[in-house]
Amino acid sequence: MKLLIVEDEFSLSQSMAEYLGAADYICEQVYTYKDALEKIEGYDYDCIILDIMLPGGSGIQLLKYLKKIRKSEAVIIISAKNALEDKIEGLQSGADDYLVKPFHLSELVVRIAAILRRKNFDGQSFITAGDLQIDTAAKEVSVKGNVMALTLKEYQLLLFFVVNRSKLLSKNSIVEHLWGDDMDFVANHDFIYTHIKNLRKKIVAAGGEDCIKSVYGVGYKMQVKP
């Protein structure tokens, strides 16, 4: 999967490229409006990560241009602007998703994965991780053919782990992924422990490997054999 990262802040662009690179995406980075335009005109990508305020122009303009020349790239906007009108404008102009800065890279990966699944729907709706097979179309998870009965939150949690496999996920990022931005007022995120415990129990009960490990009590990590 080939991604184009359009973000003028070099450090942020680097972090994204590094994190996404480790998740087996091929990333190209551009830092200005003009360079982005050239890349978009000359090459095809699966997904474009687009900042709105760029030196030389607006990401929204870029997005509109992309739709005008009928390119089919998925677009996820990353912007500091949480101004409601901006969000709506971005989505109206044809962006597939919108992420407000600062965000968790793990969240970005999940959003990109979801967009790409939607875009390449034909035959791509299955994700495999170790013993686990996830049918994202039916929202079903099976282990060695046994379908597991998961609650919606457990399903979302598992998908988050699978997409970010081999990554240490802080409790913060898990809570924010499942319950949104508002939840961060809760100092103690131990209540997600119950969810993770249940999920692990269900995987083991279905005959799967217990692949979600707690790391020093600060986060969790999914380790599956390739």
């Binding site: 500091a80 949480n82 890279l105 913060n172 961060d184 007022f185 209540f191």
Partner: protein, 424 residues
Amino acid sequence: MKLFTKYNRINILATIATFMVGSVAFFAVLYSILRHQLDDTLRSEQQEVTEYVQTHGTLPDFENTRHQWITAVQTTQLPAHKHFSSYLHHDNRDGDNDWVRQLSFPLMVGNVRYTVYVNRPETETEDLLKLIIAVTLGMIGLILLVNYLINRRLINRLLRPFYSTVGEIINYRVAFEKPLQLPPSPIDEINLLNESLNEMAARIYREYYALKSFTENASHEMQTPLAVINGKIEVLLQNDGLNEQGIQQLLAIEQATKKLARLHQSLLLLAKLENRQFIPDEPVNMQQVVEAKIEEWHDLVKSRGLAVQLTCERTIIAFHPQLAEILFSNLFNNALRYTPQGGSIQIFLNDASLRISNTAAAGPLDIERVFLRFYKTQNAAEGTGLGLAIVKEICSLAGFVVKYAFTAGNHIFTIYFSNKTTQA
């Protein structure tokens, strides 16, 4: 008081005063002329009597009538001069008291001393006074009537462009996409008003948008470095060489970064609320908002052993969907955060109000300061301290009223909707 009413009142008072003074002066002049004539008549009567006495040596027979009568009284002491005076005379025929003008003068008939009194009633003067009062009152009445008619017809028409200008100003919001455009008017004063308002609005509009883009740019500029920090932390976390202590430190930095971002977003939201950048005119189903939020946080409520009781009616109000969510989630957040383990939260919603009450961990909050920015109690280190300030601002924007009360160990926040709509 309307400008015109005020103008009219002054105008009418001045007119009445002028007529009063004018009438009094007019009366005084006429009165003095008439009295002068009357006195002349009395004098010529005196002359006739004196001449008669000189010629005949006796007093004449006085032919007294209702309009003039003469009496001669014998005296021992002669008055020195002739003398004019007025007195009230009771008329036996019609029972009225009338003013009578009298001339008294000394007269010698032979060796007998007389004082002669010549009398004439002043009824003409009185009639004149009555007439003048009638005319004055009539004129004042006529002026009032004419003023009223002018007010009704002409002035209201003259003021129409003024009211249309006022109407446009009332409906104008700076947050609208275009500056105020008042039309030119054929009346100079209104035209001047409209031009000045257009100019002022254009200036405010420019400054408002400069400020708006400044706050947004500032937000952008601050969020990006925060995103960089966050990104670096997350990449670092994947480093296998980290020990537990290192990870703990990184997560503490992440937490602080998140809080900073949140604080900044809250301040930005407050600025936008103060700038009235949201227009609360969409029908919002509050029941849905409340139920969705409670459902979303069900897990947290359960893990804290809290009991949430919801009494909810279908309520649709004119509001802003995102603000509705922020409003409820800020209040619900607080309730969740400060309710001790095993406590309860009650939520009541109907089309007049939304009430959230929760078991208090300690005593009442400071009613004066609870909605102020950065108001925190000792045990509330976690929040931004802006949640209730935002609630207050949202309410003021939407025309709601928010009240805090402490009853029977419960914090109670109530929002009274006052501008609800009834459309389904």
